[in-house]
């Protein structure tokens, strides 16, 4: 019944415009839409404004490739496999990247506000920290809070007090996150666009609902009538989804609950090689630009590696891959 939302990775990435404010599914190095991220680099997207609760390997790749102008987040790194976001750090220092620091709760509340259609939400988190220091308002410092971009709030925070219960202490209002596009990698999507996520859902629901345009990449596109047999297990109704793409392993090297493990070795290799721009460029040449499609990328990773990462169907993670130091 529904219109056909199926797209190729190439077509889906064409829905993203230079200058767009973008957010993603997942958490740090888990369930990130990597197939799309690689194609964004290939299509040389520019001046993106990333807004995320936290960032990770996907953000580092987009930043290293020069696609990103602004990063609003609470964190960027690779967990065990790379302590900091070295590309973000380098581009920040060179002045190519604006980094706006919020805390984790601030960011999730910003997305919740966006998802619920209100301009802000209140919180008590992170009082007394330099995150609230008005000198450290990076978008303001760069003159981007003048209201000319309707998605960039005119202030970083507002401070209020509670008139209802007589509580003492400041309440912080954080502005809504209102991205143009959310790119989500999930386990399953129905043919009409109904989204099912297995395992921890991170901030996927809020990220998707806050965005105007939603691209969903799934390990599997499944019959809509099957995914609707248990609607309580579904996260997002079809009418919020604009494009669907089927791409098995599409979150590699990040992990995907029930499907495959984080490829820590791959991420550690990325981290160690991309601390310099030259290192990044060489890595991107090898793993993105010389590779024409995600299928080719998977071929380059190799079946043996992928199969080791494949999740055990009971545990929902790989019991065969060697982790540890």
């Amino acid at each position: 019944m529904a219109k056909n939302k199926r797209k190729s990775i190439k077509e889906a990435v064409q829905l993203i415009n230079d200058g767009d404010m973008i957010t993603f599914s997942g958490f740090t190095i888990w369930r990130r839409p990597m197939a799309i991220v690689y194609e964004m680099v290939r299509q040389r997207k520019k001046n993106l404004h990333l807004i995320e609760v936290n960032s990770g390997t996907h953000g580092e790749i987009l930043i290293g490739a020069g696609c990103v102008k602004v990063l609003e987040t609470c964190w960027i790194g690779h967990e065990l496999y790379g302590k900091v976001g070295a590309n973000a750090a380098r581009k920040l220092k060179s002045g190519e990247l604006i980094v706006e620091d919020y805390s984790h709760v601030h960011m999730i509340m910003r997305f919740a506000a966006g998802a619920m259609g209100v301009p802000y939400l209140p919180t008590r988190a992170s009082l007394g920290t330099d995150i609230l220091n008005p000198e450290y308002d990076a978008l303001g410092k760069h003159g981007l809070r003048d209201g000319s971009n309707p998605r960039i709030p005119r202030r970083k925070f507002e401070f209020l007090t509670d008139p209802f219960f007589g509580e003492q202490g400041d309440i912080i209002h954080v502005p809504a996150a209102r991205p143009n596009v959310c790119i989500a990698h999930v386990q399953q999507v129905g043919e009409e666009g109904t989204v099912r996520v297995y395992g921890q859902r991170y901030s996927d629901a809020e990220a998707i609902k806050a965005a105007d345009k939603v691209i969903v990449v799934a390990e599997e596109i499944v019959p809509e009538e099957v995914i609707r047999q248990d609607p309580t297990a579904n996260l997002i109704p079809h009418y919020l989804v604009d494009a669907i793409v089927e791409q098995p392993w599409g979150a590699h090297p990040t992990g995907c609950f029930g499907y495959y493990e984080v490829d820590g070795k791959f991420i550690r290799d990325f981290y160690s090689k991309t601390k310099t721009q030259e290192g990044f460029d060489a890595w991107a040449e090898e793993w993105i630009l010389k590779v024409n499609s995600f299928d080719e990328y998977l071929y380059k990773i190799g079946f043996r590696r992928l199969d080791l990462l494949r999740a055990n169907s009971s545990y929902k993670y790989s019991t065969r891959v060697k982790r540890g130091a």
Binding site: E79, K83, L92, N133, G169, D204, V262
Partner: protein, 272 residues
């Protein structure tokens, strides 16, 4: 007589094992603990298998009281959710945190000052052009703001224990009240929602605690083989060592057995 519950001798355990055990001892039975990746996971799991079987653990990515069959490598890991009470997402767990459900949190940091202010954002230079840009806050300041007690686990180095941190990522006992920036006590900053704050810093050399009146850090115990002088040489501010109670209790053989053979047999955090 030496038995499984006897303390191990120096040389029989690694530093990280000592830290895990010291951290585990901060947990009381039945508590709800908010923990990040790494050492805190070892500590909470150890506590659940020894003194605090009814402790529950919340991981930032959305799992509540998981009972992992294999040690998770990060809070987003599928392993966190194994046999969890609930697995959902960030808004749920941080909402619970803000609601006041969390008793104790374990956090890390790159720098700390004597009031327990922690930095994980920028070191050196200017905020906009730092010598070192770190990960940013993550959930550190939120969890530290909203839990009843916080324990920091850190590497002990003079450059990390500073008179004043370069950026207050996570609030200690004296903080700045924004937007003005005047220094106030944590109690003043948080007002009615003040619930507590940092109670201990467990480092590679010692355990520190905070004076209830002044909010200043003092030396509580030194790890076996470390002297008070060693600690002072690795702290960048004037440290109160007058209340040092002696040595940090070492792991027992039973605790070491659990850590090595049951909790982290892959050597994910303990190493090989």
């Amino acid at each position: 007589m030496r038995n499984n519950h006897s303390p191990a001798q120096p040389g029989e355990y690694k530093l990280i094992e000592l830290l895990a055990v010291a951290s585990a001892r901060e947990i009381q039975d039945g508590e709800v603990v908010f923990a990040g990746t790494g050492l805190p996971m070892l500590a909470v799991t150890l506590a659940q298998k020894t003194s605090a079987p009814r402790a529950s653990i919340i991981y930032e990515a959305g799992s509540m009281d998981g009972r992992p069959a294999h040690l998770p490598s990060s809070v987003g890991d599928a392993r966190c959710e194994y046999r969890a009470s609930v697995s959902s997402g960030l808004l749920d767990v941080f909402g619970q945190l803000q609601r006041g459900v969390v008793d104790l949190a374990f956090l890390g940091g790159a720098e700390i000052d004597k009031y327990g202010n922690v930095n994980t954002t920028v070191i050196g230079g200017d905020y906009y052009n730092p010598a070192v840009r770190l990960t940013g806050s993550g959930g550190n300041p939120d969890i530290n703001s909203l839990a009843k007690r916080t324990v920091f686990i850190m590497v002990q180095e003079k450059r990390r224990f500073k008179e004043q941190v370069d950026y207050v990522t996570s609030p200690g006992w004296r903080v700045k009240k924004w937007p003005g920036g005047e220094w106030v006590t944590r109690q003043e900053a948080f007002g009615s929602v003040f619930r507590g704050g940092p109670v201990a810093v467990i480092t590679s050399m010692a355990v520190f605690r905070f004076d209830e009146e002044t909010g200043e850090m003092y030396l509580d115990t030194v790890h076996p083989g470390v002297t008070v002088e060693d600690v002072k040489n690795n702290v960048g501010f004037d440290l109160d060592v007058s209340r040092c109670r002696g040595e940090t209790s070492p792991p027992t053989y039973h605790e070491l057995y659990l850590l090595r053979n049951v909790i982290d047999p892959e050597g994910l955090f303990l190493g090989s």
